[in-house]
Symmetry: C2
Subunit: 691 residues, 2 copies
């Protein structure tokens, strides 16, 4: 452990700046909680108005504290923070944590204040946790350095799962929910605004702790994705999974996360692509966040998954409920394959269909073990879900004993869903380290995350395209860029007269860096039959456009053969404010737009990923030979996706799009029918897209 | 109450046929549970091998029991059931309940056995509950007439919510989950296979009970939809809501429900249409099934809803989690409108954006009441969700006291989501009759159901079309049927030569009752320019089709003008095996098919419903003036939907489809481009579609 991580995660000398003498106040909590839960290090309360606090001598100022300090928790109001950060930095304290809010999330003034506070800390070589941080709890070291009321609990359960949460209150909610289930944490860390220390950096530090097996993240926004990506790679190398629950799946939620944290919201699809690419398990339900650690601790992602499970049950209705919840998320409950069936037959366990119904076989532990062993032997499932009925409520040891014994044998992961209210069974399963769910939806959410889990992606070799793009590119410049990336254009720039050697009919478009929507100003004419018409139409178009958009710079015309193909696609690149460069592929046309038939990945991508993306766009399915329709040149499309994704390396490019990209028959390639590029300088506020 | 409902729901003289002397056995449970929970009526155990059972004299046969019997629970194995049903019927017992399985769900033999058992009962004027029924629990009368192990509980909480469950085990699971929350039931009834008594009939009886406010249904299949529809109308008249959780949302779940219950599965979309049409609230999560009664008890569906809620919170992260979960289901957390804002301002409660964050205002009950009153005053929301943070765990009375007091004032419904584990707060809220959720997903599921809730639909006046359709209709017959319904055809039947007066170009199709897919056998030719070509092509087509499908009856050709329009639709009618006649509308074309861009309703529909359906098909949006595209004749389309939905009244029609229906510009109408009809006699097994 570094000095920083030692000071942050296991501080031995703590200053509480602004600790209150009034025990009922929030700011008295850290001192109370540290004592209550048995903190063994040194504690220094700073309060100029109280000589003693909770019976201990207090200090009038930070400087009055003798010796080194590992960690200062600044509990004062927003207006007092800046001076205290400066004082901490002056004392060379490695980490200060800020409780107050009113920083980046509170508008421009708060943003400026936050920037100043960070600058002061950095100048002094000090790291900051927060603002808006509820502090750090290290349950193994009994360090409850927090304002979170969940620490009012009389006793705490220590475990091997660390939680990093941007929300202080959810940190407490998860602690209490876990405790009620017998699930403990190793650490709870509230990162708040992450003005300096980010969830990713802290996750990296936690991974070094031998007492941490799994890291859970509760995120409102993705900040510093490169830190989180580095943590994810480290986690994979160490075999310590990272699980994330991130808000913003709905537009309303995304808007709220933004206003709540002061961060810019990216798209949820981009966040999903980020988690997937970096091997982070993403869940959507609190129950899944709490239970999934038991399912994945000590494991690495399987090389491939079947997105299928075996299900055994002692309740028909409960089993069906679980199968349905799984099916809604696209996970199939599969009937036993030949290997599984052979084992079940040998044990005289009747089976047919998607549920191994143990009701008739009896729920004796040895029978349950046999059923479990049978289903785990299947070669076409990823795990086994055991559903338990009323016995879980009244005979917990019988009901889950067989599952617990069976799960001790090495093999496919086992998870449990309990249909009735069954606290004792839940507790037995928690003690045995088996993921056990109260809701079929929570089980399905966790199982889906498990089935989607992949090793962190290797970014394809980064090769920066050697090309300069004008600050205000017109379509010709955009086409030149795409041509450089390997997507040649068959359009010709016309500055005055019709160029020779054109293959008619052609399309004519006005060229301007100021007109992304040429059609709206009469800047596009299709099906021009010959050179004479072309010359005539070019002049007419220039006059038309100049009248419609008098301030637009007109740089010429673009002439291109009328392209025909089987279908159209949209191929785009942009920098997501949260996760950075992404490449998007969608079906073209009005209907595809209405259906939001789009997939995306972190850019750049390799050819295999590009092919995977093509498979995810429903509107491209007709090109795959579906219903005997002609095959499209999907290989050329995949190469185009790879090419466009390489824009990630061109820092100056903010956004780019080919729309439509026309897909020819197999072997005919693809044609860039329209293209545009936006440079970063052209963005209203370039700072907002910088990572 | 009728004699039947008295005997079923509140039996005073019960026979337990096959009660076991071995207390550990399932079949000993009813006797044990009836005693344990204080049944005050007369109990007669029938067991030829034991003179006494649980210390009471037993009877060797049913006939040995003196006096009347209200209810006989047959606890014997499948093979003994038929004889016992006959014995019960002979004694004129009003209701017998069958525990055994192995009937309709077990294949043809079981189906035959079930049919015989029902016939025997009906012949004796006796009604049957089950097979596969866990019996009847009347908690208010302390009648625990069940084999369900959940009754092992030492005490039971009686409430005003009745549960009817096709799954016996889920009946117990819901009882135990409710009890843990302090939520009691009035009745629990396991209907199993519903060979005779259906969930709908039983719901109707329960509605007559003054102690029942709400009915919850746990359904694996929809049987006898007319019974359930009648119950729903009665429920609406009485202001007693019905809430349903039905399995089968995923294909795997639907398959399982089928194999588990022996019922034929219809589509989930049809089930959803059924619930919606009849004013039944549909939820998907167990928590929503348990909590929604508190939200809707004593209410009728609002005339319209905003699909929007106000949200107040004492936890930023927890509030954001709830807003996100709601947003995923399409429910907007809306910021206070002018009325709400005025009240909040008057109380000096700061508000901005979608969350009324009470963290700063303090969580004192009077402040919470003021916040609640403010949000409830909004005119553009349907209810208020209060999210509570850590105070719910450690200061339950403070945390939820304000909510409980505030909710006593008449106004918009109030629901609560508790972010931490907070049993005491949950219990206080349950006692106060306020819906309180542990999961944001459960809250969102219940709130969505509430927002979707509508009064039962009035079926449009039923007017049976007076037309006879041939048993094996070809396309000409199908077109004649649609023309009779008001959708004229511009196609002409050709028996030999080209008919005079055609408007060329035309399309030519082979006519045959045996060839639904004419294209596959070369039976369609488009763009025929003149009469000579037509005559020649007709002969060639006949030869081609005869060669490709030698057994098909060829009845002539159909000639129709080449139709053009703005877009294509699919308009269909079928009889869903669960809910009966439905009308489907979808966008035409390959992409729409890939996206399953379809909506459906119970048939027949009125014009308003048809217009609503058009609004739900994404692929028809371009016809609404979207992006300045030309307007389509959606009024003609709506009339076509109404016309096709009238097929519901023609009992002989199994399925019908117009695909494509070509939609012209506004005022141009719609054109039937292809049509087919399947008569019910042509179905492989007509009985399976009978309701």
């Amino acid at each position: 452990m570094t000095n920083l991580s030692q000071a942050l995660l296991n501080p031995r000398r703590i200053a509480l700046i602004g600790a209150s003498a009034d025990q009922a106040r929030l700011t008295a909590r850290p001192q109370r909680y540290l004592r209550r839960h048995g903190y063994t290090g040194a504690l220094f309360a700073v309060n100029p108005r109280s000589p003693t606090l909770l019976g201990q001598p207090a200090f009038a100022t930070l400087d009055a504290i003798p010796g080194e300090i590992d960690f200062a928790y600044i509990l004062l109001g927003t207006e007092a923070v800046e001076a205290q950060v400066a004082a901490c930095a002056a004392r060379r304290i490695p980490v200060a944590c800020i409780l107050a809010d009113g920083f980046a999330e509170a508008g421009p003034e708060g943003q400026a204040l936050q920037a100043r506070v960070v600058a002061v800390a950095r100048a002094g070589g000090m790291r900051l946790l927060g603002p808006n941080s509820m502090g750090v709890v290290n349950l193994r070291a009994r360090t409850a350095l927090t304002t979170n009321a969940a620490l009012e609990a009389e006793s705490l359960v220590a475990g091997r799962v660390a939680l990093v949460s941007q929300s202080g209150s959810m940190m407490g909610a998860l602690l209490s929910r876990g405790a009620a289930r017998g699930l403990g944490f190793s650490h709870l860390i509230g990162t708040g605004n992450e003005a300096d220390l980010t969830a990713g950096e802290i996750a990296s530090m936690l991974l070094d702790d031998a007492d941490v097996d799994v890291i859970c993240l509760f995120l409102e926004a993705l900040r510093a994705p490169e830190h989180l990506a580095a943590a994810a790679r480290k986690a994979h190398a160490l075999g310590k999974p990272i699980i994330a629950l991130k808000l913003g799946r709905s537009p309303f939620g995304a808007e709220l996360a933004t206003s709540h944290t002061g961060a810019l919201a990216g798209s949820d699809a981009a966040a999903a692509a980020f988690f997937r690419a970096h091997g982070i398990l993403r869940v959507t339900m609190l129950e899944a966040l709490l239970e999934l650690p038991a399912l994945v601790a000590g494991q690495r992602p399987p090389p491939r998954t079947h997105r299928a499970v075996g299900v055994m049950t002692t309740t028909g209705g409960g089993g069906a409920l679980a199968v349905d919840a799984l099916g809604v998320l696209g996970i199939e409950a599969r009937k036993p394959d030949a290997s599984a069936a052979a084992l079940l037959d040998a044990e005289k366990l009747p089976h047919h269909g998607r549920l191994l119904d143990m009701t008739l076989a009896g729920t004796r532990p040895d029978r349950v073990m046999a059923g479990l062993a049978g289903l785990r032997a299947a070669h076409d499932t990823d795990l086994v879900l055991a559903v338990v009925g009323s016995s879980a409520q009244f005979r917990p040891k019988d009901a889950v004993g067989g599952i617990i014994e069976g799960a001790k044998i090495t093999g496919k992961p086992v998870a449990v869903f309990l249909a009735p209210e069954a606290e004792a069974s839940l507790r037995l399963l928690a003690e045995a380290g088996i993921a056990a769910f109260r809701t079929p939806e929570g089980a399905a959410d966790a199982i889906r995350a498990f089935c989607d889990w992949r090793a962190p992606m290797q970014a394809p070799p980064a090769e920066t395209p050697n090309i300069t793009v004008p600050e205000a590119p017109d379509e010709a410049a955009a086409r030149a860029l795409f041509a450089h990336l390997g997507l040649p254009s068959d359009a010709v720039v016309m500055r005055h007269d019709a160029p020779p050697g054109l293959r008619y009919p052609v399309a004519l478009k006005i060229l301007s860096p100021d007109l992304p929507h040429k059609t709206d100003v009469g800047g596009v004419t299709l099906h021009i039959a010959d050179a004479e018409t072309l010359t005539h139409e070019a002049a007419a178009m220039r006059a038309r456009v100049a009248a419609a958009a008098p301030e637009a710079r007109l740089t010429g015309w673009l002439v291109q053969p009328m392209a025909r193909g089987l279908a159209e696609a949209i191929l785009g690149f942009r920098r997501d404010p949260e996760v950075g460069p992404v490449v998007l592929l969608g079906a073209g046309g009005v209907l595809a737009e209405l259906h939001r038939d789009i997939t995306l990945r972190l850019a750049p991508v390799d050819l295999a990923t590009a092919r995977e993306m093509i498979g995810e766009v429903l509107g491209l399915k007709p090109l795959t030979g579906w219903r005997n329709l002609p095959l499209g040149d999907l290989e050329a499309l995949a190469l185009a996706v790879v090419a466009v994704s390489r824009l990630a390396a061109l820092e100056g490019i903010a956004e780019a799009e080919i729309n439509p990209l026309i897909i020819g028959r197999a072997g005919e390639g693809v044609t860039v029918a329209d293209a545009w590029v936006v440079c970063r300088a052209a963005f209203p506020s370039p700072a907002t897209v910088a990572v």
